[in-house]
């Protein structure tokens, strides 16, 4: 590398130039993004290499299935370090989220061995696990021959470890003693409020304190701003609509999706009075101040609108607000972050979480090598690299979350993000009842929400119908 290039990296390390400028500059000097990242993280890679035979599977070729996501981008940026560390090859297929999980299902249901490991969410393993498509990773973690002594599994936040472990019994508690570790937490998102500070100042409102307050303020923002709408939430006919802000608020009101009877049978619980009251608030909010084509909204649109100044608030993954506050977004630097407890009586937020995790394909032919990759990708070193150098915010490891460099970096450019994270994370966990019909239940739920928002069916009636339909499906599947 030329002296000029070295200087360039030194400048970056000294904090004189931004990461974006570094990448652009590196590109001009003929250094690829991957090489640049390699340079940046080479030191930590060397540290990782001590005391463990990383080269055991030298020459193996891993193939990964990834979702188009900033986290995946961040991992790809560091992939050369993995290759250097282990001497393995790693290639990947990357799909947008619209089709990603269908692709995973397609690959796994056909017992395909083409992918060794893949990105997943915890919910999906409730299908993959019982279907026998993914391996219990507990066995690998506990095996000193396979796992680096410095791996520090306990460093991973306990809530995340528990949320990705399930005993496979429908309705069984996550993280129970007999639970199997279906996947390894890799990065997570908790659901919270992000808002446009400029717009809030213009309309003269403060960040919302609770759900009724949010409904009111969103309406006021919609009215006063004349253009942007008040609140962005997802609305597509999918589980994805239920799990972010919606379920976080629902849980904050003490509501459950399903109840588990003494006999282990599951029963829908969306038709309680408390649930109906919450639904009414949420629906009123979407009707009055949500996006016009809410029913097709995925997180991509929710985020884009916030970044483009088309919406004033979002109640969605906290990292979404984070991404919109940077990059080349129009509203870059204008966003604020705010922990949110929707129930006026609740003491603290109860954000439902989405855990991007790594799972191992049971049909893979080189599982030990794949485990090496998973270990590396969830290692403290990679986590720290991601958290400090790329957009791997919301680190899954306590040591990284408490890292001063990480906190300083975020605080400097993303006002309130760290505070939000600190206030939200204690209550953050999965609030769904784990069971194989997760997608049936949540899709039906989203469908019912859409109908209720469109005023095709009144809330009370809609939820009674929903509960009845779900009960029937549970019964048909032998679960209810």
């Amino acid at each position: 590398m030329s002296q000029k290039a070295k200087d360039f990296f030194e400048q970056y390390k000294a904090g004189k130039i931004s990461r974006r400028d570094l990448m652009l500059g590196a590109g001009k000097l003929g250094i690829s993004a991957a090489t640049a990242n390699f340079m940046l993280n080479a030191a930590s890679t060397q540290a990782l290499a001590a005391d463990f035979d990383w080269k055991k599977f030298k020459g193996a070729k891993l193939h990964l299935l990834l979702n188009k996501h900033p986290y995946a981008d961040a991992m790809i940026a560091d992939l050369d370090n993995f290759k250097a560390l282990t001497g393995m090859e790693a290639t990947y297929d990357i799909f947008p989220e619209d089709v990603y999980f269908d692709k995973v299902t397609a690959a796994l249901s056909s017992k395909s061995s083409q992918y060794d490991a893949f990105m997943t969410g915890a919910y999906m393993t409730w299908t993959y696990g019982p279907a026998g498509w993914v391996d219990d990773l507990g066995a690998y973690i506990k095996d000193p021959a396979k796992t680096n002594p410095k791996y520090a599994w306990d460093d991973v936040l306990p809530g995340l470890r528990a949320s990705t472990a399930w005993n496979g019994v429908p309705g069984g508690a996550l993280g129970s003693a007999d639970a199997k570790q279906w996947c390894i937490p890799w990065a997570y998102e908790l659901n919270s409020i992000a808002y446009n500070r400029k717009m809030y100042d213009k309309a003269g409102v403060q960040p919302p304190m609770n759900m009724p307050d949010l409904v009111e303020k969103a309406a006021k923002l919609t009215k006063d701003l004349g253009g942007p709408y008040g609140i962005g939430v997802r609305g597509s006919r999918s589980w994805a609509t239920i799990h972010p802000g919606f379920l976080s608020g629902y849980a904050n009101y003490g509501q459950k999706d399903l109840t588990v009877g003494a006999d282990g049978k599951l029963k829908a619980a969306m038709n309680t009075a408390g649930s109906k009251a919450y639904h009414k608030l949420f629906i009123e909010m979407v009707q009055n101040s949500g996006p016009k084509n809410w029913s097709t909204y995925t997180w991509y649109q929710v985020g884009t609108d916030l970044g483009a100044g088309a919406s004033a608030t979002i109640y969605d993954a906290d990292v979404l607000g984070y991404f919109m506050d940077g990059g080349d977004n129009k509203e870059k630097g204008n966003l604020g972050f705010h922990a949110f407890a929707p129930n006026p009586e609740a003491k603290a937020p109860t954000p439902n979480i989405w855990i991007w995790s790594l799972a191992m394909n049971s049909f893979g032919t080189q599982k030990d090598a794949a485990w090496y990759f998973m270990q590396w990708a969830s290692s403290t070193e990679h986590d720290l690299f991601g958290a400090t150098k790329t957009d791997f915010v919301n680190p899954v490891r306590a040591s990284v979350a408490n890292d001063e460099a990480f906190k300083t970096r975020l605080n400097k450019s993303y006002a309130g993000y760290v505070d939000q994270l600190a206030a939200s994370s204690p209550g953050a966990k999965i609030y769904f009842t784990p069971q194989p019909l997760f997608f049936d239940v949540t899709t039906l739920w989203a469908e019912t929400l859409q109908k209720m928002v469109a005023k095709e069916v009144p809330v009370d009636e809609g939820l009674d119908q929903l509960a009845a339909t779900i009960d029937k499906q549970l019964k048909d599947a032998g679960l209810g």
Binding site: T105, S109, A131, S295, L437, F439
Partner: protein, 304 residues
């Protein structure tokens, strides 16, 4: 006369085998497809969810019987038929009107008919994406134009009341040219005499249209209609790319629904049963279609 003349001539074996040799490779390539078909029929008689392997079992026709009392299923039937009826109906009327406008062979009309081919050449999935961009409530040009026209709350594919309209619109945009091309070919091949005679006799044009044009064009219209019916009842690309079946269950047509059953709920049996029913419908339709088509072909060949 010698004895050998009485024996029947030896067949040229090669000639007899030739047609089979020629058509068999094509058939073999496609027969591989029959295996999954049979599998699907078998799956449709199972209780079979990939994520509940323990409860897999053979249940004969229970999946089908369950459909009878399943309002979601009837909704799928209703939506599929509605979508098919609307798209085919609108495209037929629209296609006929355009074909009649362009009937005269002028340079302008020919150019117009070629330009009208372009939507047909656009992948339906991409066409849906185009319309999705154009109907985006924030920057979509159509949303803007509709707003200018004074309709402030038009939500296109996002509202149950207008979602069907929107996907039908896209389908119409893509496939009307197809019907137009067929009917234009039909119109231009009609004999001139009846029209000339009618013009000489001063027969009103409405009468000419209903009593001469339509009946003579009928075979072409039936063929075009059946062709579209078969495609339309199996619509997937446009609906899946626009709304994935939403909002609510407004657009859960057969193929979208079975796709979701398979990939989201891993309910293989239900997905297969839905597809078998769809197949039965299309098989019945395609039988009518192929018969009609053969008849028309005979006629076309006879007059050629």
């Amino acid at each position: 006369m010698t004895a050998e003349t009485i024996q029947a001539p030896r067949r040229r074996r090669k000639t007899k085998l030739l047609p089979y040799l020629l058509s068999l490779p094509a058939l073999l390539v496609c027969v591989g497809i029959l295996i999954p078909f049979v599998t699907a029929v078998y799956y449709s008689m199972l209780r079979f969810r990939l994520n509940l392997p323990a409860m897999k079992g053979f249940i004969w026709f229970d999946n089908y019987i369950n459909f009878l009392s399943d309002s979601e299923f009837w909704n799928t039937v209703r939506v599929s038929l509605l979508y098919t009826g609307l798209t085919v109906g609108v495209e037929l009327v629209f296609g006929l009107a355009i074909a009649m406008l362009l009937q005269k062979q002028t340079r302008f009309n020919n150019l117009a008919s070629i330009l009208l081919l372009l939507p047909l050449m656009t992948a339906p999935a991409l066409a849906a994406l185009m319309w999705k961009l154009m109907t985006n409530p924030n920057f979509g040009v159509l949303s803007y134009l509709v707003q200018l026209a004074g309709v402030s709350d038009f939500k296109w594919a996002s509202a149950p009341s207008t979602a069907l309209f929107t996907v039908v619109l896209v389908d119409v945009w893509v496939y009307t040219p197809f019907i137009m091309i067929l009917l234009l070919a039909g119109l231009r091949s009609l004999p001139r005499q009846p029209f000339e005679a009618a013009a000489l006799d001063g027969v009103p044009r409405r009468f000419v249209f209903f009593r001469i044009t339509l009946p003579m064009l009928a075979p072409y219209m039936i063929t075009a209609t059946l062709f579209r019916l078969l495609d339309s009842i199996q619509q997937f690309d446009i609906i899946y790319s626009m709304t994935q079946g939403g909002p609510g269950n407004t657009l859960l047509v057969f193929q979208v629904r079975s796709y979701l059953e398979f990939y989201q709920y891993t309910n293989v049996a239900k997905s297969a049963a839905l597809l078998v029913i769809l197949w039965a419908i299309t098989y019945a339709l395609s039988n009518i279609f192929i018969k009609q088509w053969l008849k028309l072909r005979e006629r076309a060949r006879g007059s050629a």
